[in-house]
């Protein structure tokens, strides 16, 4: 069982094409603004390549020049006094030239990695920002459909894979091909018969490399999948350790873990086997080529077709030739995973943002009065089940309208529509007399005072959380907001005051404190229109009283749409709308509705917390 599952896991990761010119074309569009950087990368690679070729060439000339000349001269002297100094001087010059070349090579080698990284990062940083911005423009339901974890993977791992593509993938691969071609030509220039021999044996090397590539990828995939399963099981056991211990199943679970470990190791051993075979085979084929070169080359030297210098030059250049071919398989794999990532990224970039901004959006007229009208608004996420039907109501400037209803009555949908997360299926919503669809959404939202049920705070300082990048929030308005919301002493208690860094989701603060900060955040913008979705979580009574007071301050003299859970809030509302299954069933003030003794009267007894 365990084994069958392990093998099934191996097949799981879908293989994709290693070469996709359509994807490549789209990627190239992100690369074009950085053409100059690509050109410079290429120039540096070319210089380095030239220097790599130059040092063996100088060695050849030292051997064929002063060294051979000296020994010929000495032989000609037949034992007479031999003056070596001119030859030594020439040799010293070659040595000096060699030194210059290797120093230059060191400089270019340093520049090479820098420039490749610079190029890749330039493209990838742009792409990442573009991708993130595009995702931000997508509608809310898209985020509900996709698990956050996988979205994060798109902007991290997948973008990193593309970085690989641009640094060690494409440029280097392209250049490797040029290298192989150039060196092959040079080898032919040194000695055509030897070069021909190399040309005949090279396909063997390429073949081994490519065959291995496939095996290595499969083996790695299988290791990865099995390891993921093992770690998943570990994670699972750690989270269920209570159950394991109460049921005294430590041994059974341990055996199971052991079996999965064995699966992982089986895959590891396949990988070891593969690599243990691959390296020696490639080494042997390389020796085969070298031995062939020696055999034929020996005859060529003997027949004076080539010199010793030529032979050594050939030998060195052969190393330059073989290197890229050995790495071919590795590069191919980089390409393959990069293309898979690119496809996933483009899938997101191809998702259109459905709520299009109007062609000519109207700026919010200031002063903003906060006059809201819902006119025959209907909405359905899915046409077969309408969520709201024919809803009409008005929030006159300065008035508070409270929404009340059981879960699923449509309260949060109304909030979502007013925030323009969605557009109504029919009917319209106007703000100060202007259709919401015609307004500049971003500018409208910035002017709202928003307190959502999930009192979401961001990592960053308290100050940043209060300002939230709104230009119209001044230090004074922030101070006033903290004052009236009674959030001041929360801030004062923090070690660094307003500059205290909050942990993820504001975890450093208690639930009640987060709610107060969220109210202060809304107040800081001095909004004309407030949207408040009250939290249902329970807090201690002292905090509850403070939240109540702060809510009162927030709603005073402003237009407000409230999803109410507190009795105090609902009591003070100018109008209460009772929703049931997406329809407006009752409306009026608290006293009127209680007297009516309908749905509201029941809801009232059930939902609204009175301080104990």
């Amino acid at each position: 069982m365990a084994n069958a599952l392990a093998e099934e896991l191996d097949k799981d990761e879908v293989a994709t094409k290693a070469w996709d010119s359509a994807v490549l074309g789209r990627l190239w569009r992100f690369a074009t603004p950085h053409r100059g950087k690509f050109a410079l990368s290429f120039a540096i690679l070319a210089c380095l390549f030239f220097l790599e070729l130059a040092s063996p060439w100088m060695l050849k000339h030292a051997i064929d020049g002063p060294i051979t000349a000296a020994s010929t001269a000495r032989a000609a002297l037949e034992g007479g006094e031999f003056d070596a100094s001119p030859y030594l001087r020439e040799l010293a010059w070659w040595g000096l030239a060699y030194l210059v070349v290797v120093l230059l090579a060191a400089v270019f080698r340093y520049l090479e990695e820098n420039q490749l990284t610079r190029t890749g990062q330039a493209v990838v940083t742009d792409l990442r920002a573009h991708l993130f911005a595009h995702m931000q423009a997508l509608e809310l339901s898209w985020f509900d459909r996709h698990p956050t974890g996988s979205l994060v993977t798109r902007v991290t791992n997948d973008v990193e894979n593309l970085n690989e593509l641009f640094t060690s993938g494409l440029i280097v691969l392209l250049f490797d091909m040029i290298k192989v071609a150039v060196v092959l030509v040079l080898l032919f220039l040194v000695s055509p018969p030897l070069a021909f021999l190399v040309l005949v044996l090279t396909p063997v090397l390429i073949g081994v490399s490519l065959v291995f590539r496939g095996g290595a990828r499969r083996a790695h995939r299988s290791v990865r999948a099995r390891l993921a399963r093992l770690n998943g099981y570990l994670q699972e056991v750690l989270s269920g350790i209570r159950v394991v211990q109460v049921f005294r199943r430590e041994q059974r679970v341990s055996r199971r873990f052991g079996a999965q470990l064995a699966d992982v190791n089986e895959a590891h051993f396949r990988t070891i086997q593969l690599f243990a075979l691959f390296f020696p085979i490639v080494a042997w084929v390389t020796v085969l080529i070298q031995a062939g070169v020696l055999w034929r080359g020996g005859y060529a030297i003997h027949g004076h077709a080539i010199t010793f210098g030529d032979f050594i030059l050939f030998w060195f250049w052969l190393q330059v030739f073989v290197g890229p071919i050995r790495e071919l398989g590795e590069r191919y794999n980089v390409l393959q995973s990069a293309f898979a990532s690119a496809e996933r990224i483009f899938l997101i970039l191809d998702t259109p943002a459905t709520l299009a901004e109007p062609a000519a959006s109207r700026a919010l007229a200031l002063p903003f009065r906060g006059h809201v009208r819902f006119e025959h608004v209907s909405f359905a996420y899915d046409p077969r089940s309408p969520v709201l039907s024919e809803l009409s109501f008005e929030i006159p400037p300065g008035a508070t309208v409270a929404l009340v209803g059981a879960t699923g009555a449509g309260k949060s949908t109304i909030v979502n529509l007013l925030l323009r997360f969605y557009d109504p299926t029919s009917g319209r919503i106007t703000i100060d007399g202007v259709d919401l669809r015609e307004l500049d959404t971003q500018a409208f939202r910035e002017r709202l005072g928003l307190v959502l049920q999930e009192d979401f705070l961001f990592t960053g300082t308290v100050r940043e959380n209060l300002v939230l990048g709104r230009a119209h929030v001044s230090p004074e308005s922030m101070a006033r907001a903290l004052e009236v919301s009674a959030a001041n002493d929360i801030v004062q208690r923090l070690p660094m005051g307003l500059d205290t860094e909050l942990a993820e989701r504001g975890a450093t603060l208690s639930t009640g404190e987060r709610e107060l900060i969220a109210i202060a955040r809304a107040l800081a913008g001095n909004p004309a229109l407030v949207i408040l979705d009250e939290a249902t979580s329970s807090v201690d009574s002292a905090t509850e009283a403070r939240i109540e007071a702060a809510t009162y301050e927030l709603l005073r003299a402003r237009s407000a749409l409230v999803v109410a859970h507190r009795l105090s809030t609902v009591r003070r509302a100018d109008k209460i709308l009772v929703l049931h299954h997406g329809k407006l069933r009752e409306s009026g003030t608290h006293a009127e509705l209680l007297a009516h003794n309908g749905i509201y009267a029941r809801l009232h007894a059930l939902q609204f917390r009175e301080p104990e």
């Binding site: 040092s55 060695l59 030292a62 051997i63 060294i67 040799l91 010293a92 070659w94 060699y98 610079r118 990062q121 990442r128 920002a129 993130f132 931000q136 809310l140 956050t148 994060v152 902007v155 699972e236 056991v237 750690l238 989270s239 269920g240 350790i241 209570r242 159950v243 394991v244 211990q245 049921f247 005294r248 430590e250 059974r252 052991g258 470990l261 243990a276 390296f279 020696p280 080494a283 020696l294 055999w295 030297i301 003997h302 010793f308 032979f311 050594i312 059981a406 997360f421 500018a443 409208f444 939202r445 910035e446 959502l452 979401f456 961001f458 939230l468 709104r470 989701r505 029941r602 059930l606």
Partner: protein
């Protein structure tokens, strides 16, 4: 509990650090046969490598002496033969040594896993699972890398480098000495740069994690982001962390480019004396062209072993830090142990007695539970209710000694601390609040509760008892259906009922339900409760619940408030005596009415 160190090793003294690693070396030595074979291959590989170069060089020297090249044919096949032998040994060496390192890795992981399983819940509550998992994965890998492949490369270098230099020294001591110094620079470069590289790549990893965290937050809080019109703001913030990552990537590239340039330069410089001094000697006729070739070719072959030496030296500090983090887990001791004279009960009736039981979580300001004294006669039901955080789950966990209680808990009159864990926990079954199930087959999840495989009838019976028959029949693979991540997703209520079935598979004397019916609708709940009562006559049940209807029929109900017992009595008694109980009961009743509106 566990130290929170991640990247920087603590300043521990050198002998101490070495001793830690030696402990892991000993694990490798358990496989001494395979290791001995593997190590024995290393000198053979090195010797073949040197032999090949010598043959190539000698051939050139013979050609220089204008010898008849007919010898080349024989040499060709001799070279291929030696290369094949070398290949074979290279294969065996890798297979044995790397193989052993993987075996040791698996053994170490198993040992760590078993250790973790034996540690009490108090340990697990306090440590983050991410941290523990990284000890079991990347730390183990760091140690394996050093002792396994690391030592293979070091040993290879130790044969190859001195061997080659000795051969070359024999040819020309001067040139050999002159070329050794630049080669030494390679090792130095690696030793100095590898820790720097690791630091920078850690910074890159951290900035990537920062990108992930920003994205995660932005996507998770998308309602606030959009609602406040923060999109532009968020994009700017994201761009900032992305830029930080770019900066670190460029720094890393600078260091690794420097290392690369330095290594290659050192290597290239090693050939300068070969060219000048060697060339001089050739002009002097003390060196043949074949000898020059030997210098060049062997120089090329020792290049990588020399790099490897430095690389391994650079890996050392990280491996030591990892060894320490692994040891921290292995050195943990469980406080919940069986007494030396622990006894077993021949049969358990299921009577529970609690005397002044309390519990304080490590580091907590106030006790989670305090002053609980009560008796649960065998075969009766105790309900435990109270607001969130009042200590219900803690109390339930104390019964099976998942936490060690202060005060005394007795099972059938015997203190649970003097019972064997098998006896105590064998008598209990527990249904957790989080309805934890394994991502495994439905059958395996039920059998987890039983002591052995269950037959079809028994399984069907369990499924029937928890009212899951029609759902299980609807699974594409029935009882063999995979559930969880790779299989079907169960609803909250289905998970809870499955957890109950798993507990029933044990036929326990004491059944503990931790708010185990919260996601089941009230109708199913009452059916389930009735079936539990029918099947478990004589069974003691302890049930914590939010919904008071769940515990209504219990013989006793305990109301907990902030860890203290507020009231104990029957449903009717509590309606009189406890304000909280009465109000909660009223509210829940109305809620049920409204649902039917």
């Amino acid at each position: 509990m566990l130290s929170r160190l991640h990247h920087e090793p603590p300043p521990s003294r050198e002998p101490e650090r070495v001793r830690r690693l030696l402990g892991f070396v000993r694990r490798f030595l358990r496989h001494r046969r395979a290791l001995a074979f593997g190590v024995a291959c290393i000198p053979v590989v090195a010797a073949c490598d040197i032999r090949l170069t010598l043959w190539f060089g000698d051939a050139l020297t013979r050609l220089q002496a204008e010898e008849d090249p007919a010898f080349l044919k024989g040499l060709f096949f001799a070279i291929l033969g030696v290369a094949a032998v070398q290949g074979l040994f290279r294969y065996l060496q890798r297979w044995w040594i790397v193989g052993v390192s993987r075996k040791v890795e698996a053994e170490l992981k198993q040992e760590l896993f078993d250790k973790l399983e034996s540690l009490p819940l108090a340990f697990h509550v306090q440590s983050r699972s991410g941290d523990i998992i990284s000890r079991l994965t990347s730390d183990v890998e760091n140690v394996r890398m050093l002792i396994g492949p690391g030592s293979m490369y070091v040993l290879g270098s130790l044969f190859m480098v001195p061997g080659s230099l000795a051969v070359l020294f024999h040819i020309s001591p001067g040139v050999t000495l002159a070329m050794s110094f630049p080669l030494l620079l390679v090792t130095v470069a690696m030793m100095i740069m590898t820790p720097k590289l690791q630091r920078h790549s850690t910074a890159v990893q951290e900035s990537l994690a920062e990108i992930a965290a920003r994205a995660q937050e932005s996507f998770a809080g998308v309602r606030v982001v959009k609602g406040y019109g923060l999109v532009r703001h968020e994009i700017a913030r994201f761009r900032a962390v992305s830029e930080t990552n770019r900066t670190h990537q460029l720094k890393l590239a600078r260091v690794s480019g420097l290392q690369d340039a330095w290594i290659h330069l050192s290597y290239d410089l090693a050939f300068l004396p070969v060219l000048v001094v060697g060339g001089w000697a050739m002009i002097d006729r003390t060196l043949a062209v074949g000898d020059l070739f030997k210098f060049i070719d062997l120089g090329f072959k020792v290049f990588w072993p020399v790099i490897a030496l430095g690389w391994i030296a650079g890996l050392f500090p990280r491996a030591v830090a990892s060894a320490q983090r692994i040891d921290e887990v292995l050195d943990q001791r469980s406080e919940i142990v069986e007494a030396n004279d622990a006894r077993t009960l021949p049969s358990v009736a299921g009577a529970l007695a609690l005397r002044e039981v309390s519990y304080v979580y490590a580091g907590a300001a106030r006790p989670a539970l305090t002053g609980i004294t009560l008796d649960v006669p065998a075969g009766t039901t105790l309900g435990v209710v109270g607001p969130t955080g009042s200590g219900k789950s803690t109390l339930l966990n104390l019964l099976g000694r998942l936490f060690e209680a202060q005060g005394e808990i007795r099972l059938d009159g015997v203190p649970v601390k003097s019972l064997t864990l098998d006896c105590l926990r064998g008598a209990l079954a527990y249904v957790p609040q989080d309805s934890f199930l394994f991502s495994d087959t439905y059958r395996a999840n039920l059998e987890f509760g039983a002591d052995g495989p269950l037959d079809e009838a028994a399984l069907r019976g369990l499924v029937e008892q928890v009212a899951m028959t029609s759902e299980v029949n609807a699974f594409p693979s029935g009882l063999e259906q995979l559930i969880g991540e790779r299989g079907v997703t169960l609803s909250g209520g289905q998970r809870q009922r499955t957890c109950i079935a798993r507990a029933l598979a044990r036929d326990p004397r004491v059944l503990i339900l931790d708010d185990a019916l919260s996601a089941v609708d009230t109708e199913t709940e009452s059916r389930l409760l009735a079936s539990l009562r029918r099947a478990g006559r004589g069974r003691t049940v302890v049930v914590a619940a939010h919904r008071l209807g769940t515990v209504r029929a219990a013989e006793q109900i305990l109301v907990l408030r902030e860890g203290r017992p507020e009231a104990l009595g029957t449903h009717e008694e509590l309606l009189e005596r406890s304000r909280w109980y009465r109000e909660t009961w009223e509210r829940q009743r109305m809620s049920a009415e409204l649902a039917e509106l």
